[in-house]
């Protein structure tokens, strides 16, 4: 949705200079993202400037199941047991891209939700889940209408809601 090129993380990408201000997210990208990708545990997608290998932003997604505790009936959807969905496990923007107008965080989130939607088209999945690291991230997802699960740092959005907003 932006002018940055979106692609799956590979050895060709330069992740050495990535810094988003949250150390755990930087460490994940440099130490674990590729290994998780190779083992099919998750998929990391990155933004780069066209033609350049340097990673400017990334998000990591993986299928998950969500226990219904704390979810509303609409979120559960009449099923029984765990609810299939996708975990938006990481989402980070290089510090250099902060403060731009328009803001790039929403674009990265939109790309992540598009990618999750594509996966859901093939494999289903009712919910999109995020576990926020801090209050700032929590507020970001709240602004995007993710619903918090009480007494946790977890937020959820139904796939149908995300799809409708992306197609609006």
């Amino acid at each position: 949705m932006t002018d940055y090129a979106l692609s799956a993380l590979s050895n060709e990408h330069d992740i050495s200079a990535f810094a988003c201000g949250e150390e755990s997210l930087d460490r994940w990208l440099s130490n674990e993202a590729l290994a998780a990708q190779r083992s099919w545990a998750s998929r990391t997608h990155v933004w780069t400037d066209s033609g350049a290998p340097e990673v400017l932003a990334y998000f990591t997604i993986l299928p998950t199941t969500v226990v219904p505790a704390g979810l509303s009936k609409r979120q559960i959807g009449g099923g029984r047991g765990s609810i299939p969905g996708y975990l938006l496990a990481k989402l980070a923007l290089h510090e250099r891209l902060r403060g731009r107008t328009p803001r790039l965080g929403p674009g990265l989130l939109a790309d992540a939700l598009e990618m999750i939607g594509t996966a859901a088209d093939a494999a289903g999945g009712r919910l999109i889940v995020v576990d926020t690291l801090n209050d700032r991230a929590h507020a970001f997802y709240r602004r995007a209408d993710f619903k918090p699960i009480p007494d946790t740092r977890r937020l959820v959005m139904r796939m149908s809601t995300a799809r409708a907003a992306l197609q609006a």
Binding site: D3, G77, G79, G107, D111, D145, A162, A165, L166, A168
Partner: protein, 94 residues
């Protein structure tokens, strides 16, 4: 008489008929308004109520879980996300 519909539609039909019989026409209107996919089936339910469609033995059909699932799948309004998506479609300043 058993209608010739796929099994997955049977529970939808059962739910629609049950509502139709107890609440016609309100339930049908609600079903039609909320779940476009069952519009056709709701019409059949209305026909069933009027005697044009021979009744299904509802007691033999499992729960109406599917109709609940379909109803609960209507998207919620997400103005915040819509704003973000619109913002992301604006040309970024590099």
């Amino acid at each position: 008489m058993t209608p010739k519909v796929p099994a997955c539609r049977m529970s939808v039909l059962a739910g629609a008929i049950r509502r139709a019989v107890s609440e016609v026409p309100k339930a049908i209107k609600r079903a039609v308004a909320k779940v476009p996919k069952i519009r056709k089936i709701a019409r059949s339910a209305r026909a069933a109520h009027s005697g044009k469609f021979l009744a299904v033995d509802v007691t033999t059909i499992p729960k109406v879980q599917l109709i609940r699932l379909m109803r609960s799948d209507a998207p919620e309004d997400a103005p915040g996300l819509r704003r973000m998506v619109a913002e992301s479609r604006r040309k970024p300043a590099k």
